[in-house]
């Protein structure tokens, strides 16, 4: 049984196709039930605005691709079925793992290395697990994916450095001041961008907010909205000397902060750094201000340049991240192949244990003088012997499965220990769509057979 991933993403489909395919979190339980009814033994649905992917393990010879295509076809807008179906990609087994690991690492995201996707992968798995849809294979797959996602973020610089203008402002502020709590921020005007930057800054510590505006009423309204204090324009220089961060975004035609103003303020600041963020166009702050000692002036283009540099820096970490993903995917592939040996190992173990138990119980009947504790000890020793006898065989069987030599090996083992080939009862761990090895199952013991062994 191989895990499959079938889905659409921003790499293969435009937004209208992705819209049709996307699933709200509230709809996912019913969608999982729908997939189960269609023949999926395990299913996890990852749905974000940039991708919708079905992770499936199917049984009974059902082709996971077919299940997924039918699922997506039902969701396509009228007349766009073929467009949606042709945008689907599908990966199987180790490739599916490589895909999910890369997704979780942020390698397939629109913004390289962004970290929301890891939370979304976690949430997708949590939902499926809560609905009982994630079985042993997909559980292992998603737990590995979450692990890989974390590892890539801690071991590489893929997620490092702000990649949006407002976060770049936060990152710079933190490089200057460290902790932002208690810092005083002076707002000059308040556009949408300023609001966003302010919100991000406030996430890193409680700021004291001063709002200066040309019109007193408007300033007071803004101050109320941001939980700050309105400042009259006449007080501007006073506040400039006390503030740590200035966030300028007025619609003024002329510079609001001139070099002379800032220079006077700097003299009173006793060397404390001043971070001026000018996101207004035309600019609010005289660019010469940056030359003053201890003043860091970044305008919108400077912030964009930081973002560009960060994006370039992130791209440098892609090979390393891909290497981690590839290594972990190979590891998962090995685990998948080793699983082929599980039914044989279980059958072998059951047979050995049945024989041992029978003999031990017979022995114990002849030794009535043993008390319950001693009997338990005898049974424990018997179990330990069975375990140790089978240890090498278990390892060898797993290895043969991993190396793809299992068909002959399983046959020999089945013959040697009278394990019968046939349809296993519920866990069809040996079925594969193509060239599946024959499943092996324990033939029920006939009365007396174990003893004659």
């Amino acid at each position: 049984m191989q895990p499959w991933v079938v889905g659409v993403s921003h790499e293969t489909a435009d937004v209208s196709l992705r819209e049709a395919a996307s699933l709200d979190a509230a709809l996912i339980p019913s969608a999982l039930a729908e997939l189960a009814a269609a023949g999926a033994e395990e299913a996890v649905i990852v749905s974000t605005c940039n991708r919708t992917e079905l992770y499936l393990v199917t049984g009974d010879g059902r082709d996971a691709r077919e299940v997924a295509r039918e699922f997506f076809a039902r969701r396509a807008k009228a007349g766009r079925e073929t467009a949606l179906l042709s945008a689907l990609y599908a990966h199987e087994g180790e490739e599916a793992a490589r895909h999910l690991f890369a997704v979780a690492a942020g390698l397939r995201s629109l913004v390289l290395g962004e970290d929301q996707i890891l939370g979304q992968v976690k949430e997708a798995y949590r939902l499926a697990a809560a609905c009982g849809a994630a079985g042993p294979i997909l559980s292992h797959l998603f737990q590995r994916a979450i692990h890989v996602g974390k590892r890539v973020r801690t071991e590489t610089g893929l997620g490092r450095g702000a990649v949006s203008v407002s976060y770049a402002a936060v990152e710079l502020a933190r490089k200057i001041f460290g902790d932002l709590s208690g810092k005083r921020i002076l707002l000059l005007g308040a556009g949408e961008m300023a609001e966003l930057a302010l919100k991000n800054l406030a996430d890193h510590g409680s700021l004291r907010i001063w709002v200066a505006n040309r019109t007193r009423e408007h300033g007071e309204a803004l101050a109320r909205a941001f939980g700050g204090e309105a400042v009259a324009m006449e007080e501007l220089e006073e506040r400039l000397a006390a503030a740590d961060i200035v966030l300028a975004s007025t619609g003024a035609r002329e510079p609001v902060l001139t070099r002379a103003m800032v220079q006077r303020a700097v003299r009173r600041r006793r060397g404390r750094p001043l971070f001026v963020i000018d996101i207004a166009v035309p600019r609010d702050v005289d660019p010469d201000v940056h030359a003053l000692d201890g003043v860091f002036l970044y305008n919108i283009d400077d912030l964009r340049a930081v973002v560009e540099a960060n994006a370039a820096e992130r791209r440098l970490h892609v090979p390393h991240a891909e290497a981690i993903v590839a290594r972990q995917a190979r590891e998962f592939g090995r685990w998948l192949r080793q699983r082929l040996a599980d039914p044989v190992i279980r059958a072998l173990r059951a047979k050995f244990k049945a024989v041992a138990d029978r003999e031990i119980e017979r022995l114990l009947r002849r030794l009535p003088q043993l008390d319950e504790k001693q009997r338990e000890q005898v049974r424990a020793v018997s179990d330990a012997i069975v375990g140790k006898l089978l240890h090498d065989a278990t390892v060898a069987l797993k290895r043969s499965a991993e190396q793809g030599r299992h068909e002959q090996v399983f046959q020999v083992v089945a013959e040697m220990f009278s394990l019968e080939a046939g349809e296993p009862p519920e866990e069809s761990g040996l079925r594969e769509p193509k060239g599946a090895p024959e499943a092996v199952r324990l033939r029920p013991l006939r009365p007396g057979e174990g003893a004659a062994w």
Binding site: E155, G157, R160, G161, K175, I176, G178, G271, R272, D293
Partner: protein, 273 residues
């Protein structure tokens, strides 16, 4: 000199060289484990040095202040230990590329230098000499580390001013932390320097019966003391923020270096180091 402590010195010098290479490589490399291993190698170098010092102490049964090499080693040991602690505490990995090469060169220099001195003249032996040398070295190590923090401050400040941010900043703390480090280390070192100079003066009075004032090293040490003292006074008045603080820490270290490394070789002085 006994060969045993020298073997320790050689080993730690080699470890410091190895760590230097790793720290420098970590500046450009994207291998995530490299800074960690660089730190580990540097730490093992420091532990080797510590072990060598303890062996040396066991053999001589006195605090090792007999020769230039002893004093220099103590300084090296204190700076290395202090830096490794700071690196861990404040994540200043980049600093390793600055400090470790100096430590490596210093330890190699001490190893190759013709062994001179050794035991102190019995006439000079006194608890004062221990207090004197130990305090001066404590002060010098603190000043050296302050200068490291100051240099890192200037590097980061330059990146922010030029608006060309490199990946370097991810292994540096913020300006505010670096600035506070500079101040804290100078504040820590200054009393030690004061104590060292005073105890030296008392010792000289006991040995020669007069305060030793005309010795060039002593004069220069008081100049150093003045530089740091004025700096502290200025901070009290002006807050000790910004680039000037960082630059002052470098100037202070320059005075220390001139006194410690150059003056001893150039002029006639009663100081061995």
């Amino acid at each position: 000199m006994n060969r045993l402590p020298l073997a320790f010195l050689l080993a730690s010098s080699m470890l410091f060289f190895g760590a230097s290479g790793m720290y420098v490589a970590a500046l450009r490399s994207r291998r995530p484990g490299l800074p960690f291993w660089a730190h580990a190698v540097a730490l093992s170098g420091w532990l080797t040095l510590t072990a060598g010092g303890l062996v040396r102490l066991g053999l001589w049964r006195s605090l090792p202040f007999g020769a230039f090499s002893d004093g220099a080693l103590l300084l090296l040991w204190a700076v290395a230990g202090g830096f490794l602690w700071l690196e861990r505490r404040y994540l200043i990995r980049v600093g390793g590329a600055l400090v470790l090469p100096l430590l490596a060169l210093g330890s190699a220099y001490i190893f190759w230098r013709p062994a001179g001195g050794g035991e102190l003249l019995p006439a000079l032996a006194s608890p004062w000499v221990t207090v004197h040398a130990a305090s001066v070295f404590a002060a010098y190590s603190a000043f050296a580390l302050a200068a490291v923090a100051g240099a890192l401050y200037l590097i980061l400040e330059r990146e922010l001013k030029r608006k060309q941010l490199t990946g370097l900043r991810f292994s540096l703390p913020d300006l505010d932390t670096l600035e506070r480090l500079v101040r804290a280390l100078v504040v820590l070192g200054f009393p030690f320097l004061t104590l060292g100079l005073l105890s030296g003066a008392f010792w000289s009075r006991r040995v020669w019966g007069a305060y030793l004032l005309a010795d060039p090293k002593v004069i220069f040490a008081w100049i150093t003391w003045l530089i740091y003292g004025l700096q502290l006074l200025y901070w009290r008045a002006a807050g000790g923020r910004g680039r000037r603080t960082a630059i002052a820490s470098l100037i202070g270290l320059l005075a220390v270096a001139v006194n410690y490394l150059a003056l001893g070789a150039l002029v006639d002085t009663v100081h061995r180091f």
